[in-house]
Symmetry: C2
Subunit: 206 residues, 2 copies
């Protein structure tokens, strides 16, 4: 029986992702990846035919985690209340809580990293990112449609724009907190999403 190569494969991907989030894909040479991983070039090219294949594998793994992240929290929220608005508020609260007490290393998003080096990647790589963004939109806008059947929004909004806003805030706050070295910002800004939903739909206090 051969030994388990998936350990090496995983640690290559871990090293590469860290490097990519800090210096971009282009500046992340294969040499720097193997040095950080502590392996040789032969081992790298045993697991990945090309550097582009590594890029694809990374975003596939990242998207799979993102999918789980969305579904796990949404399911949990759906179990904790039967009301769609409460579900949505719980969901936002769970995402906020995840980021509470966050310290270094500052979070970063592979989608954003790839976005600003877009021309270096192939269409299939972009497709994975696009699909995940659309999955968030679909899952959450369906929820907002439910909400809007019960609660009239205080201002004119579409379910899609409310759904999109959470990824907008994630991507934006990652950039801000990384630049200003203020990891605490992340939870605070996610909290403002919760605030917005609450103010948009809940009855004013009597």
């Amino acid at each position: 029986m051969p030994r388990d190569g998936s350990i090496t494969r995983t640690s290559i991907m871990d090293s590469a992702q860290q490097l990519i989030l800090n210096q971009g894909f282009s500046a992340t040479s294969v040499d720097s990846v193997i040095e950080k991983t502590g392996i040789t070039k032969g081992a790298f090219y045993y697991h990945f035919d090309t550097k582009a294949e590594l890029a694809l594998a990374l975003v596939e793994r990242y998207a799979a985690l993102d999918h789980e992240h969305l579904e796990m929290n949404m399911k949990q929220a759906e179990e904790l209340s039967r009301d769609p608005l409460q579900q949505m508020l719980i969901f936002a609260g769970l995402l906020k809580a995840e980021m509470e007490g966050l310290v270094e290393p500052f979070p970063g998003c592979l989608y954003a990293s790839y976005c600003y080096e877009a021309q270096l990647f192939t269409e299939d790589t972009h497709q994975i990112i696009e699909n995940m963004m659309l999955e968030w939109r679909q899952r959450l806008s369906a929820k907002f449609s439910e909400i809007m059947e019960i609660y009239p929004p205080k201002l004119e909004v579409t379910p899609e724009s409310l759904a999109d806003m959470i990824l907008v805030i994630y991507e934006g706050v990652f950039i801000m907190s990384k630049t200003l070295k203020e990891p605490a910002m992340t939870a605070v800004q996610l909290g403002q999403y919760r605030n917005y939903i609450e103010l948009m739909f809940e009855k004013p206090a009597a």
Copy 2:
């Protein structure tokens, strides 16, 4: 007297900025910049001692425009109303209006681009970006402090977090709209910032 070199210098910077927003700084070789500009290597190195100096010059120019963008719109808002809340709502509305009817090329932010290649830049380059983010925070949180002296916020928030949120939304929506190729998102999401402020502070309709 020699001919005007500032034209060449400006067009180098324009080409470089476009390339950097699409493929990152690292992948933007000096060769690709001179090819796009239609000049030679000698001309490039006449205007910039190193590639790093170009990076600095670009972010300096970008930050100067950003400063004007903030001040111009804020001043205009301050002229259109005497009430700080109305000023803030007008300000958000002006920013939204700028992005209305936006088509290709999709907007991108140099701060975000540099953020995901952070390790490639020197401290002074980072400082410019950090200072501009803090300038937005300072200018807007002062305004929110004024607002909160008059209007009680419906939920617990800090002036700083409300101030930060607008850059969060800018950075986030640029990534989303670029990836999904939906330039119209930009104005919509800026509109939601306006909504949030309105809901947070305005009296509910009687």
